[in-house]
Symmetry: C2
Subunit: 201 residues, 2 copies
Amino acid sequence: MSAAIDFYFDFSSPYGYFGAMRIDELAEKYGRDVEWHPILLGAVFKTTGSAPLTDLPMKGKYSLHDFERTARFHGIPYNRPPAFPLPTQVAARAMLWLQSKYGAEQSIRFAKLIYQAMFVDGVNIAEPLNVLDIARKNGFGTDGMAEGINSAAIKNQLKAEIDLAMARGVFGSPFVIVEGEAFWGFDRFDQIEAILKAGKV
Amino acid sequence: MSAAIDFYFDFSSPYGYFGAMRIDELAEKYGRDVEWHPILLGAVFKTTGSAPLTDLPMKGKYSLHDFERTARFHGIPYNRPPAFPLPTQVAARAMLWLQSKYGAEQSIRFAKLIYQAMFVDGVNIAEPLNVLDIARKNGFGTDGMAEGINSAAIKNQLKAEIDLAMARGVFGSPFVIVEGEAFWGFDRFDQIEAILKAGKV
């Protein structure tokens, strides 16, 4: 098996959510693993000078419609979240804590649950109690989770992961690195499939 | 035949060029006409607060690579232009002048020649003499063209066309409006095909 595919995402990113619903399936088709990396676009935007799509003049209204249409086009369940965009450091840190405790596979299962809570069930995932609730309801042992999320260790890990991502050129969500090639956006999943199939685009 | 598809583009936009190489073929497949509308992204960016992709931190380097890769993926000839991005008001006004003189079909043929000069042959299309040369070499009568490009009438027409485009929500290149739905980006040509086929996405 070749090196894992790196998948970067922010939990408040609709296109990140679409990518999250497809990346494992795509990788599996070509016998590849995926490493999931939660990032905070807010931190990235400080460097790029960018802003959430929906805050941008003209693009904002367009994007809200495009999220719904793109979900429909790809057959992905989607309901416009009542709270959007929202801060995602709690969800990202929760994922890292679960990863340290239960391993990568379980943390990926959790990430998908968080995304679905946000983009299907309208849960406000900026609220720590909601994040804990999602873990608990889905069979995760959550003893020590609240403390873990607020620990300096997990906070520093997330910060370091984001610095590392930016050093690799990551500036958006979803963002995929495979065979040394960087792909920004759910729009590029067709090119990612091409590279998985043929080793190049 | 249903209403024409509106296709908006800036001559300095690589994704606009890719769209220009595909839109007529796509429309024809579903028995539709295309109305081509040159715009100036510089004017649009004043409203949206955006900037050319290649000027943005991190996104700039990524984009230069993505242009080449996306061209390859779609089998479209592409050579990174030595002068890029560049001002496109001369090319846009030349297109409008040819349209007024020889009709829409000929002006579309000219638009494709301009795009190919820029993105295949490395011609600096900001230079009026080069634009005239492209017209002349390809069988257009260019008597009065230089004056036409600089006339108040053509300048005002381009300005009005851009105002109209922005009033319709156009903020990027390529930008397509069909069946009342707006699509931004060459990435959305798959969804445009879906709407042409089924009347909806």
